[in-house]
Symmetry: C2
Subunit: 146 residues, 2 copies
DNA sequence: CTAAAACCTGACATCCATGTGAGAGGCAAG
DNA sequence: CTTGCCTCTCACATGGATGTCAGGTTTTAG
């Protein structure tokens, strides 16, 4: 029952996929090497992708940006592709782990941002004091790490 | 008017600083090389720190964890130490930049976490369907990158 | 005094995503 | 056919924080 959707699904070559995702050709080949992205090959060996791969590449990038390694991403993607009892067990556990790691990391980042805010506020306060001609010049202001 | 606070401020050596911060000795030396952490030296050349350096090392680690590079951290720390008109101008700009970068990154991470949640939810739904014996088996569920 | 433990410098090793370059083949347009 | 551009594979380079090893001095404990 494989109904062809109008016939020739426009073939996307690696250069186009690269420019449409903002990811370098080199990286796309690397993703394939890491088993994150698969391609059909033309008789001459050129990689052929489909439109749907654009989304996939963006998702991969998003996971990289979140600090996941290739190995972990490779572990999760099959489940995202098509959940099945074979892959979902371990993958679900993994995802939950990564989700928690992310949550913790986000909290860390917020703390750090607050610390930066504190330092900036202190520095601005100091400048105010300077402008209005106060003494008490040097007040170290490490933002007591939380 | 240098009043000694009771006399000998307990000297902290590098091994102790390492164990009290959870940062390796190697890394502490590296921080010094990068001009993030300074040490007094004993006549024989051993590094002597003070209690206050513990906080500083933790702060450095926090900044590393937030994705700042040594170079940037080195740019910010003098201002955090003691704000002065010399350093605060450029450093304040830098800090604002990093603060914004952090905010953007946090937003990204939250989106990624949401995407993971979506994938997990779909996978769980699928398992439910399996358990209750539904058809419609394979429904790819890429979480349409936002 | 002696042995163990901690420290010093210097240098090379590692991980991982990505850059870069070489040399060769594929494919469309003039 | 030729020119130009895209693609292929292979392989080495890079950067940044950290690990690790070697060979030597200092400090501490018994």
């Amino acid at each position: 029952m494989a109904h062809a959707t109008g016939g020739a699904e426009a073939v996307v070559r690696i250069g186009e996929l690269a420019s449409r995702t903002g990811v370098s050709v080199r990286s796309l080949r690397y993703y394939e090497e890491q088993d994150l992205l698969h391609s059909a090959r033309s008789p001459s060996g050129q990689r052929h992708y489909e439109e749907t791969h654009i989304e996939r590449v963006l998702f991969i990038q998003q996971l990289y940006a979140a600090g996941l390694s290739s190995r972990v991403i490779a572990e999760l993607l099959p489940c995202a592709d098509a959940p099945s009892t074979e892959n979902s067990d371990s993958a679900l556990v993994r995802m939950a782990q990564e989700r928690d790691r992310l949550t913790a990391h986000i909290a860390d980042l917020i703390r750090t941002r607050d610390a930066l805010d504190t330092v900036m506020a202190k520095a601005r306060t100091y400048r105010e004091q300077l402008r209005t001609g106060q003494g008490d010049a040097t007040a170290a202001c490490r933002p007591s790490v939380q």
